[in-house]
């Protein structure tokens, strides 16, 4: 490491020195004036003199002033929304009228990671979400604001509890292993670890998942680029198989110092609610259940129905347990500005929110972003530093209350007694609020520092050095004091327990690069060559404590009577690679893009440390041909295609070693050590071959744009472990299985400017994706652990269930198909019906309207899918659990078409078994499609003139305001049932710019 740092130092020192040498002085005069367009002043116009590096920016009132030098100077005015304007300077004052730009796709520049590419010249598939679309959204994770906006990217939020995980699939699942499907996240050029889970949070955060982008304020993001196809991802080699998410933070703008204050306040509630039985219906069900079971004297423990509890009380537990209105407030303070050769941005945001459980829980994030860019006067040297640090504290209830809210008897007693203490109703009531005494909290800190330095040695040769450090520290505590249990159990603080887990990850990356551009005649060639060194060190430790003298000491685990210290684990992951890109364009009509990468990873055995990846992408801009050049209808036509390979090395570290690991078995106080795995040093990357072809069209002077892309990705070499017979001592060996998964799909993106007038504009974006996946082959699946999960020839999103055949009229219980005919219904021989619970198509429809100072955007997200419904988690109707209204449609002699079997209080073993099978039958799967009013933004720009205020905007935002669905269950968007649904949020805010 020392050696590398030294070389970085020497390179940067050289670059700095030569940059300073190039600084020059010159004589100046001044030009000033006002810039307007359609009668209104235009701010933010970048003004520079041709051939000089001097720049300045117009003020809020459209005023500008610039120093110029030399004979017959020319000034250029640039603004992203207006056509460039060139001015031959004659006087000292020039008022300028800018023309709004024709809707042009040419100006969009996309970040492809190692290089930038103009949208019109790109050969690959890169989707971009800009700051404008996501800013000010009341979301805790920026991924929520991307939902529905990008084709080919399916994002599902894990739960409405803040700080949890997201499932993000870029063009489907490539790996048979769940954990092998995360994309690569890169913030300002620094890859960040995505394999994060909590150890103790799984009862509050579904699947114990955390997302690495939690804590980043969407307002600090300039753009998110999502790389999808081979042309875009092959340069990320062994980590690009599942797509790449590039986050670019905001940078300062040259010109006047801007001070921005932004504050918003939001209120949220669970977005969906279920209609449950009221007390009358519930008690009827319960009584009938006992009657059906042949029980005449009600058991002493059936408090709800035997008269111990009130039979008139009717509580909406959803309102009481998950119905708190969560408030959140966000404040952001940012300063940015710059001079001719440097700019900076500093932003501090603080977000604080309560929870829908009670106001005592909550989530807080702080984030600090600092960016600084510098260029030498001759622009040969460019350097930038960006720093984003986030600090989150998540203090939540230990257990998600959603399923309790659905299950509690509606006539259950009140939560608190008159004096405010927890009501145990003479020990007849397992009071859910007692759980409020147990907490789960975690703290995470992440620092992401990135530096980029480049120097143009010759017009055709630039040397660049990218580097960065990412540090993440995560610590979590789970406290379970005895007070969370009924005092009747006689538990004391000696039964309290506390758990702690700490994890940190430090990774750093250095990427020196050389790039070159050469043009001659109609030819243009761009080349890039670089290499990567990355090291990542993870450490994990934890402690558990059982039994405390007093609960006051519970947060000090060392005070426990019994403490168990977990393994102190330190792992290392090293990564080195070479990459290159060559792009050739002929007459801006034909473009070929070649990328390649050689990757080395410490996750593989000595003989397989390296692998090669590459892609070829090509584009043909038809509209440059003579026969289309002057078409009035078609303004732009491009056909492109790409083919290439990528890989995935998400398999955990050290899988190739022949080792013993500390085991959970202990004998006579000696901790056992066991063979970690079957030894196989010869496994390698999962490989994905990606193919895409696309057509990009623009009509009517670019007022209507349409993109169509078809992709087909085949993943082989699956690192699932080759299934082995038990006689080998293990069930599998880590190895590349020639199992093959194919993801295909069609993506359509439409963008149109419907109406455009002097004061107003209406535009529409629409995207839809039709994804398909198929397991093409998997040798030995019958004997593997995947046998109940996948079927060859079917999508990866299948489940195998029993065939539901209605109600048996004789027994009044559910009937299922006895596939193997052995007279009983059992797994795995009868649950063989394949149901695809996956997404059929998804997308979004966004309308943007602006009128004078008003602007409004409305986004609908839609997903067509099938998934588990409430029957999957339903308890036997008739037991001491509340039920959805649907169970009123119960089978009986009088109602032979009833959907649910006759009620049972739980004492009927046949019905209990039938219920278990019912939960895993075709009846538990149904349509889960939905259309959701995902986001509404309404903002008004207050006219301010000639005050210190440059800009004032007030805005209203709404998130998940409306969901249209026929889904039977709480909410159709979920990863695991029984957790809090996404939240419905309203927010108002104001942004002031000085």
């Amino acid at each position: 490491m020392k050696k590398i740092l030294f070389s970085i130092g020497s390179i940067s020192a050289t670059i700095m020195l030569s940059a300073m040498y190039n600084l020059v002085h010159a004589q100046t005069s001044t030009v000033s004036g006002t810039i307007t367009s359609e009668g209104k002043p235009v701010s933010g116009v970048i003004i520079s003199q041709e051939g000089s590096t001097q720049t300045t920016v117009s003020s809020g009132s459209g005023k500008y002033q610039i120093n110029i030098t030399g004979e017959s100077p020319v000034i250029i005015f640039r603004h992203p929304l207006y056509a460039d304007y060139k001015l031959q300077v004659i006087d000292a004052t020039h008022n300028i009228e800018l023309q709004p730009k024709e809707n042009s796709i040419e100006e969009v520049v996309l970040n492809a990671g190692y290089y930038k590419v103009k949208d019109r010249e790109r050969t690959g598939s890169i989707a971009k979400v800009t700051a404008k679309e996501i800013e000010n959204q009341p979301v805790v994770n920026v991924l929520s604001s991307v939902q529905g906006r990008v084709s080919g990217v399916n994002i599902t939020q894990g739960s409405g509890t803040s700080g949890g995980g997201f499932d993000i699939q870029i063009r489907g699942k490539n790996s048979l292993r769940t954990e092998g499907n995360d994309p690569l996240y890169i913030i300002d050029g620094v890859p960040i670890t995505s394999e994060n889970t909590t150890k103790y949070g799984n009862t509050i955060l579904p699947n114990a998942a955390l997302n690495p982008l939690n804590g980043i304020n969407p307002n600090e993001i300039e753009s998110i680029e999502i790389l999808k196809d081979a042309d875009a991802t092959s340069i990320y080699g062994s980590r690009g198989a599942n797509g790449v998410v590039l986050i670019t933070t905001k940078k300062g703008k040259k010109g006047k110092l801007n001070l921005i204050l932004n504050t918003s306040y939001a209120l949220s509630n669970a977005a969906s609610k279920m209609k449950l039985l009221n007390t009358e219906q519930y008690l009827q069900m319960r009584k009938k259940a006992y009657q059906n079971d042949g029980i005449t004297s009600l058991p002493a423990t059936a408090y709800d129905v035997n008269g111990i509890w009130s039979n008139t009380k009717n509580t909406d537990w959803q309102k009481l347990l998950i119905g708190n209105t969560m408030s959140s407030s966000l404040s952001q303070f940012s300063v940015n500005g710059g001079q001719e050769n440097s700019s900076f941005l500093f932003s501090f945001s603080h977000n604080e929110q309560t929870s829908v459980y009670t106001a005592n829980f909550g989530y807080k994030t702080n984030s600090i972003l600092g960016t600084y860019t510098f260029n030498s006067k001759d622009k040969k040297f460019v350097g930038s530093v960006s720093n984003i640090s986030t600090f989150q504290t998540n203090n939540q209830i230990n257990e998600d209350q959603t399923s309790k809210a659905l299950l509690l008897s509606p006539n259950a007693p009140q939560l608190y007694t008159e004096d405010g203490s927890v009501n145990w109703e003479n020990n007849t009531f397992t009071n859910p609020v007692a759980i409020f005494n147990s907490t789960y909290n975690n703290k995470s800190t992440s620092l992401n520092q990135s530096t980029s330095l480049s120097y143009e040695f010759y017009p055709f040769l630039t040397v660049k050095l990218n580097g960065g450090i990412n540090y993440q520290n995560f610590s979590e505590f789970s406290f379970k004091p005895n007070t969370m249990y009924n005092p009747a159990y006689g538990l004391t603080s000696a039964n309290s327990s506390a758990f702690n887990n700490n994890r940190s990850n430090l990774s750093y990356i250095v990427e020196p690069q050389i790039s070159s551009t050469e043009e001659w005649g109609n030819n243009k060639i761009q080349a890039l060559f670089g290499f990567t060194l990355q090291k990542s060190i993870s450490e994990q430790s934890g402690i558990q404590g059982y039994g405390f003298e007093t609960n006051a000491l519970i947060s000090n685990i060392a005070a426990a009577k019994l403490t168990v210290v977990s393994d102190q684990i330190r792992t290392e992951y090293n990564f080195a690679s070479l990459f290159a890109r060559i792009n050739y364009q002929y007459a801006t009509k034909y473009i070929i893009n070649l990328t390649g990468r050689k990757d080395g990873s410490s996750r593989f055995g000595p003989s397989n440390k390296f692998a090669y990846f590459g892609s070829i992408g090509a584009a043909y801009i038809l509209s440059e041909e003579e026969f289309l050049k002057n078409s009035n209808v078609l303004s732009f036509t491009k056909i492109r295609a790409s083919l290439g390979t990528t890989g995935s090395d998400k398999i955990g570290d050290y899988q190739y070693l022949d080792t013993y690991t500390v085991s959970s078995n202990i004998y006579n106080a000696i901790v056992g050590i066991k063979p970690t795995r079957l030894y196989n040093p010869n496994f390698s990357w999962e490989k994905t071959l990606k193919f895409e072809t696309a057509l990009e069209l623009s009509f009517l002077k670019n007022r209507l744009n349409a993109n169509f892309a078809i992709y087909s990705n085949s993943s082989t070499n699956q690192l699932v472990g080759i299934p082995l017979p038990f006689t080998t001592g293990f069930t599998s060996i880590q190895s590349n299985l020639p199992a093959k998964v194919r993801n295909t799909g069609l993506e359509i993106d439409l963008h149109s400017i419907n109406l455009k007038g002097k004061n107003w504009k209406w535009s529409t974006n629409f995207n839809i994706t039709f994804p398909k996946s198929k397991l093409i082959s998997f040798d030995g699946i019958e004997g593997s652990t995947y046998n109940n999960k996948y079927v060859v020839g079917e999508p990866l999103s299948i489940v195998k269930v029993y065939q539901f055949e209605g109600i048996d009229p004789i027994t009044g219980t559910y009937k299922f198909k006895d596939v193997n005919g052995d007279g009983k219904i059992s797994s795995p021989n009868d649950n063989v019906i394949v149901e695809n619970i996956g997404v059929r198509n998804f997308g979004g429809l966004q309308n943007n309207l602006s009128f004078k100072n008003w602007s409004c955007s409305i986004l609908f997200q839609f997903v067509k899918q099938r998934n588990w419904n409430y029957n999957h988690i339903m308890s036997t109707p008739g037991t001491m659990n509340n039920q959805p209204r649907e169970v009123l449609d119960v089978w009986s002699q009088e109602n032979p078409s009833g959907l649910y079997m006759s009620y049972s209080a739980g004492g009927n073993a046949i019905k209990n078994t039938a219920q278990l099978n019912f939960q895993n039958s075709t009846a538990a799967i149904s349509d889960a499609s939905f259309i959701r009013l995902k986001n509404i933004q309404l903002s008004y720009k207050i006219p301010v003139s000639n005050s210190i205020l440059a800009d004032a905007i007030i805005y209203f935002q709404g998130q998940n305001l409306l969901t249209l669905t026929k889904y039977f269950g709480l909410d159709p968007e979920f990863l695991t049932q029984g957790f809090l649904p996404p939240l419905k949020t309203f927010s108002i805010g104001a942004q002031l710019k000085f």
């Binding site: 290499f531 060194l533 090291k535 393994d567 684990i569 330190r570 290392e572 992951y573 090293n574 080195a576 080395g600 990873s601 410490s602 440390k609 570290d653 050290y654 070693l657 080792t659 013993y660 690991t661 500390v662 085991s663 078995n665 202990i666 004998y667 006579n668 106080a669 000696i670 901790v671 056992g672 050590i673 066991k674 063979p675 970690t676 079957l678 030894y679 299934p723 082995l724 017979p725 038990f726 006689t727 080998t728 001592g729 293990f730 069930t731 060996i733 030995g780 019958e782 004997g783 593997s784 046998n787 009983k824 219904i825 797994s827 795995p828 021989n829 073993a909 078994t913 278990l916 099978n917």
Partner: protein, 445 residues
Amino acid sequence: MILLTSQISCERWLEADFPNNQITTSEVFADVQTADAALAELYGSLWSFSLISGDGMGAIMGTYTDDLKCYYTATTNGILDLYNNQQIATNTIVEKIWSTSYYQIYTANSIIEGVSKSNLPINDKNRIMGEALFVRSLIYFMLAQVYKDIPYTTTTDYSINAHLTKTSYNNLLQILEQDVEKASSLIPEEYKNNERIYPNRSVCQFLLGKIKLYLGKSADAEFIFKNILSSSSYVFQNDILKVFQKTSTHIIWQLKPKNNGDTTKEANLYYFQSAAPSTYSLTQNLVSSFDTNDLRLSNWIATVSFNNQTYYRSYKYKNIASNTTEYSVIFRLEEAYQLLAETLLKQNKTFEAIPYINKTRLRAGLAPINTSISNDMAFIELKKESRKEFFAEHGIRFFNLKRWGDLNDILLPQKQNWKLFHSNFPLPQKELLLNPSINPQNEGY
């Protein structure tokens, strides 16, 4: 040149530091402490679930035969099918017994391989190898009683183990006879730990005697069991309440629970009080087989009344909280007495055999059986006595019935689904799919 150097430095860069919770296999066996930790894993896993764990054969075979009534409800848990004698090749318990046993065999083989390549002192080397060899042999022996012909392997090489063929039951017994003899010669007579929680030479001899009995070498078996009975280390426990107390010196081998204070699995599994059983209760058939004055009936069986129903539970292990008094007994002297009686009866030494049968009867407060009864009658008495003494212990009931050829006579009248081929479990379906060389499936499945 640059490429070459970058290649070399890349390779070096990719060498990751070793994870600190793992040890290379060669390091494990370079040191007695770590080699013993590998052994601890083996014993720990025997305790946690195995053919001899407290929730292993005792419960499974107890309910498969006629000692235990099963109350589990979940259909995915294969135990209910075993209780109903409806097991098929995909039964989860059938698979679990097989898979954990072969994992333990792998662990033992890995220890044997590691130790034999190591430079440990010869005493440690012999002891560790002997213990691993003994455990492996015990597992094979019991596994063969459950599945009959099974694959036998002594290597950890998965390329071999993935394609094993079955070794016939009789061949296996002969191989095991040699293996256990070898283990016996490697392990010292003196216990490594006074609590008798590790096997010593007598433990090996006990298993060897059993194998000889199965092989029909009655005289050899007789010699071995007599040797054990004559050892001053073992004293018959006359107090019925102390039979499962860990300090009793009639215990030949016992397994210690995982943590200090943990209860035995047996105590936990069979326990229920003021409620209907949710796991197992003793069958009426078993309870009725006791004479009313049998002390075992009053001391080893608890009666639970609930909702006007009477249930019986196994109460051999009594400690269900803060246990400092009981470990799981694997081999106890009483079994040696009965096995000796059996070898004697087989050699028609009826008169000599009867006192050994009477030993446990006397302790139970029953009258001794007459020494002058016929060989056949004596065998019948031995069979009755064995059931009463060893109910819910390590599947002894099943293994005995199988050895005596009595399975069908006893179980056909009691269990409606019992079939003649039920003397063996099916081979796990998965195993047949992944290693077709172990075909055919056991008869009847």
